[in-house]
Amino acid sequence: MSGHEFKDAYDVVVVGAGAAGLAAAAEIARAGLDTLLVDENAGPGGQIYRAITTTPVRKREILGDEFWNGAALVDEVRSSGASVTQTATVWSLDADLMLGISWGGRSRNVSARRVVVATGAMERPFPIPGWILPGVMTAGAVQTLLKSSGLLPAGRTVVAGTGPLLWLLSAQILRAGGAIDAILDTTPRGSLTRALPYASGFLLSPLFAKGLALRSEVMRKVRVVRHVTELVAAGGDKLETVTFATRQGAKATLPADALLLHQGVVPNTMLAMAAGVAHRWDERQLCWSPVLDQDGRSSIEGIFVAGDGAGIAGALAAELRGRLAGLAVVRDLRPGYESSETQSIRQKLQREERARPFLDVMFQPPREMRAPADDTIVCRCEEVTAGEVRKAARLGCAGPNQLKAFLRTGMGPCQGRLCGLTLTELLAEANGVAPGEVGHLRVRPPVKPISLSELAEMPVSEAATKAVVRG
């Protein structure tokens, strides 16, 4: 699974080797199309199946069956004929289906007749006072450390937030022999009542029984504090304490070496946005999602988006969306090709997606953890607080792109990944308009930083040189 001798052109380039990208690449390559699957990580699997081919974790029950299921997908790609390149960063994609790819410190352009963007999900920003301190990490980060390196938090560990992953990570830490001092559950009171209208789709899903089992497995061993409405991480050079308050008025401070935060995941939209794919604000998932048809076709001819990057629906749905996008790509490029599977994949996907609305509403993070109090830093790179953003709104700032000129928010190395959603929600609240109207940070290539020398050393065609050289 290596190789860096990229060709100038492929029939199809799939970006991201998680559940969706693996499934899409397998479907496309099996149909005989020249397929390149590029992925930024050391091995295939994305986040859910991270390090599936290399994990040092031997006891299968620690990570659970849902993790090990990923091995079959990797085998499928390996026998499909797709070229797979790991540790390759796609930093550009444009409407002409030209990609900029960096591998081993060198970059080049690759063109494709179709592109499947399967860039997955990332943790929703969780801005609380002190979240920039060493010792505060996302739950997903600790899951990554466990899967790829067999590492466990060793000191006093507090887990805080809301959502299924919080319980899964906690169970994995406990099964691996780790300890958790407390779980501070921020799921707001009344969430279950609000989510009940959507319960029918969820009760029929296997997720229901699995979720309950995970929860009781963890609650038997860990102190769980419910209805937490305030969270503060504090310390000097690193985290020392976590202070919380509950809706009922209880307040306490816990000594802590690690605080693991999680309030759901959101689509990683960077590459699709840079290409100019139209996105809309999702009112239920509280994030931007690309506008797509049922096969993942985006607003740009030839660009498909599949997986959690198309809207959060979990690993199984991601795989099914990858297959549908893959089969649609094949139909585009091989007219007359019809898979007998398409209908049954669609039906399976519908079943998966029916369980989502309940989870989306049940675990919708509370407003005070998305648009925090004035003294909380929201842009970690440029160290800008929520109060400064609100002040800029009072001075007339209407959107996140204008906000850059006021405060440099979103202009640091993370390019707005960890503040973008917060800025949109803060400005919407301050200006009394809908987030969809406020808009999102404009994303431009390179979506990952590359050095100027790498850019300058890119191979260029004679025509491109002639276009800029005089005489």
């Binding site: 930024e40 990580n41 050391a42 986040q47 390090a51 290399t54 994990t55 040092p56 974790v57 031997r58 006891k59 540790t87 960063t89 410190g105 990332m122 943790e123 920039i132 301190l133 060493p134 010792g135 505060v136 990490m137 996302t138 997903g140 980060a141 600790v142 990554t144 450390l145 790829s148 390196s149 067999g150 590492l151 466990l152 938090p153 060793a154 000191g155 691996a176 022999g177 050079d237 690193k238 070496d257 690690a258 990683n268 970690r380 790179c381 440029e382 160290e383 640091g412 190395p413 993370c414 990944r417 960890l418 990952k448 930083p449 050095s451």
Partner: protein, 98 residues
């Protein structure tokens, strides 16, 4: 503070961090190796020189930026460790050299 699971055999890899040798395991990213070796802080922020450490471990937050074999501002969580790799942690704002 992180510890290795006891029954996780993997080949040892030696790298240097700011001149000091540390032991990592094959399969670690640079950021994972730093956390496993007990580095609480892996850089200082450019704006206020505040201490920072890996936050997301999946290429999103850029808190784990380090210099790897002379190349600055690499995401430590995205770079697999290699024997003899030289890591330097970042201290505040970068100076532009002539």
């Amino acid at each position: 503070m992180f510890k290795r699971l006891p029954d996780c055999p993997a080949t040892a890899v030696i790298l240097t961090v700011d001149g000091r040798a540390i032991e990592a395991r094959e399969g670690d990213s640079v950021a994972a190796a730093l956390l496993a070796a007990g580095f609480a802080q892996t850089r200082q922020s450019a704006v206020s020189q505040s201490p920072r450490a890996p936050y997301c471990m999946m290429g999103v937050c850029f808190e784990c930026m380090v210099t790897v074999d002379g190349v600055a501002n690499r995401q430590g969580c995205m770079v697999p460790v290699r024997e003899g790799m030289r890591i330097e942690t970042l201290r505040g704002r970068r100076e532009i050299s002539a």
